[in-house]
């Protein structure tokens, strides 16, 4: 039974990550390879704050979000000046830089060993120790983030993002502030990713740089593309399918490394197959079950 809660929690955390990337990449056209970096910043901020200073969950969450917002804002200021090709490279560079800092800044992040000893979440005096409790919390957070994203995407702001993605120059000619809109979309998506980071730190009671590498960014991008660039529900379904696939592959009895390789091959195939079949579709329905 605990196994089910574990899979569920990973599904919810990955859904938050993928849906926040959907806002930037699907709606805003900002294909960012640095999503795992913001995820990592959220995780590490929470870990450092709760281990060194002992802050509780409801203080850690806003502080992580603010810190990631500030970092994402400065990155966005630089990155939005470039066009599509080079934007991907700048975000790739940002991902590698932040990953490298998390891995190498031994004094603060303890390098490859990571930070251990993040305490459990305490809500109203009760310590959430069981998997089921955390399952409920992550489910609530996922619903919250999904709801926020749904409202953002259906609002005039979301329509403006779609307009900017489809024709930037025309939007500018209509008098819309394209630069500010893109920066704000990037920052919002980073902040939502940091929420997933906070949950991750509390679930594993630790922070490690191995989960926040370029591979994770590529995985998130694959999920967004496979699920449909603007399809929040499709992205949730894609995450469910991919996580279940991971567990099913475990039952085949393959060694861990081989399973990981085969999984990545399947991601790549799915990506290319979808691109060959439909191109980068922007419609609502992209996942065929």
């Amino acid at each position: 039974m605990e196994f089910l809660w574990e899979i569920g929690i990973m599904i919810f955390i990955n859904t938050i990550l993928a849906q926040s990337l959907c806002l930037a990449a699907g709606y805003g056209g900002l294909v960012s390879m640095s999503h795992a970096a913001f995820f990592g910043l959220g995780t590490y901020t929470t870990a450092i704050l709760s281990i060194s200073f002992g802050f509780p969950f409801w203080i850690n969450l806003p502080i992580s979000m603010c810190l990631v917002a500030i970092v994402a804002y400065f990155i966005a200021l630089v990155a939005m000046k470039t066009n599509d090709d080079f934007f991907v490279f700048i975000t790739l560079g940002v991902q590698v830089i932040i990953s490298s800092i998390l891995n190498n800044w031994i004094e603060v992040t303890h390098g490859p060993f990571g930070l251990l000893g993040v305490p459990n979440i305490r809500i109203l005096g009760y310590e959430i120790e069981s998997e089921f409790g955390f399952f409920i919390i992550s489910f609530i957070m996922m619903l919250l983030v999904w709801n926020i994203l749904n409202r953002i995407c259906k609002s005039p702001y979301g329509r403006l993002l779609i307009a900017i993605k489809e024709d930037e120059i025309y939007s500018k000619s209509l008098g819309k502030n394209v630069y500010q809109t893109k920066v704000s979309a990037f920052v919002i998506s980073a902040v939502l990713a940091s929420i997933a980071g906070v949950l991750f730190a509390y679930y594993f009671n630790s922070a490690s740089p191995n989960n926040h590498t370029l591979d994770k960014s590529i995985y998130l991008l694959c999920v967004v593309i496979i699920g449909g660039m603007r399809n929040l529900k499709g992205i949730f379904l894609t995450v469910v399918i991919l996580e279940l696939l991971q567990e099913i592959m475990r039952f085949f009895g393959l060694p861990m490394a081989v399973a990981a390789n085969i999984r990545q091959i399947l991601y790549g195939f799915a990506l290319i197959y979808l691109m060959l079949k439909e191109g980068f579709c922007n419609n609502e329905k992209c996942v065929e079950d």
Partner: protein
């Protein structure tokens, strides 16, 4: 200081070779082909396998590996890249697709040859020459000479032959070139083949120096693209300048600060370049698409 110079020179030539190969493909196909990294890795692994597992002599292994890689890149071109281009997919979307292709190939390499780093002693490493206070290995000399030789051959090909002229024409204006009778698909195939040839040789050289690992291609390719961006488009020599700047920064950062921060600092410099000088040292701007 002399050791630094030698390291910088050798790294410059390797980055130059890889960036020329990816630059050739970028100038014709107009997207960064990240699958190139897998071709690099595959060239190295194939030559290792043919040499050690099948016990062919070293030079035969090299030639066979390069041929195998060329065949594979032709297959990839026809199965994936041409159909995607027919769909009018944009540059960065092709890059994401090529990233997917890279993931597939890299994991196939991992499945066949294992995830570990292997050593690849093709030539005896025992011979170390000393120039003053610095040490040069045989492999470094071979790398330096081979890369420069291939670069000179490439320059001669691009600037003094009619096929090279066709490639230059296609890279500057694709539509107009087809009107003048240059065959689009032939030029694309040619640029892919030459690019794959160069990068598989570079892969073998890198493997001789550093050993084989399934992910070695991606890192080197990113550095090569950095060298390309820093140098800018235009004459091939700008790739050399970009490669030199990159190698210089990396070795200086490793020497003055710490080796683990060398990569981070290279990426910071890349971002600075993309922000202040997006067209590189040559400052040549490609004509933007029409409104």
């Amino acid at each position: 200081m002399q050791q630094l110079t030698i390291n910088i020179l050798v790294n410059t030539t390797i980055y130059l070779l890889v960036s020329c190969s990816i630059g050739l493909i970028y100038s014709v196909a107009k997207f960064f082909n990240l699958t190139h990294a897998a071709i690099l890795t595959l060239g190295a692994y194939l030559s290792y396998s043919i040499c050690y597992d099948l016990s062919y002599p070293k030079w035969v292994a090299l030639v066979l590996a390069v041929c195998g890689v060329l065949v594979l890149s032709l297959m990839l071109l026809y199965i994936v890249i041409v159909p995607l281009q027919k769909k009018q997919v944009k540059g960065w979307q092709m890059m994401i697709a090529s990233l997917g292709l890279y993931t597939i190939l890299q994991n196939i390499i991992s499945l066949i040859w294992g995830d570990d780093t292997n050593l690849y002693p093709l030539i005896e490493i025992g011979k170390v020459y000393s120039l003053g206070s610095a040490y040069v290995t045989t492999i470094q000399i071979i790398t330096f000479v081979t890369c420069l030789l291939l670069f000179c051959c490439l320059c001669v090909f691009i600037y003094y032959t009619s096929w090279g002229r066709a490639i230059r024409a296609m890279s500057s204006n694709r539509e107009l070139s087809t009107i003048f009778g240059i065959s689009e698909i032939k030029v694309e195939i040619l640029s892919f083949l030459i690019g794959s040839l160069l990068v598989s040789v570079a892969g073998i050289l890198i493997a001789m120096d550093e050993g084989l690992s399934p992910t070695m291609g991606f890192n080197k390719l990113l550095f090569a693209i950095m060298a390309m961006i820093i140098g800018g488009q235009g004459h091939l020599i700008y790739y050399g300048l970009g490669a030199f700047v990159l190698a210089f920064i990396q070795e200086m950062a490793a020497y003055l600060i710490a080796p683990m921060w060398a990569e981070t600092i290279s990426y910071i410099i890349l971002i600075a370049f993309l922000y202040f000088q997006p067209y590189g040292i040559s400052r040549k701007q490609n004509p933007k698409t029409e409104v």
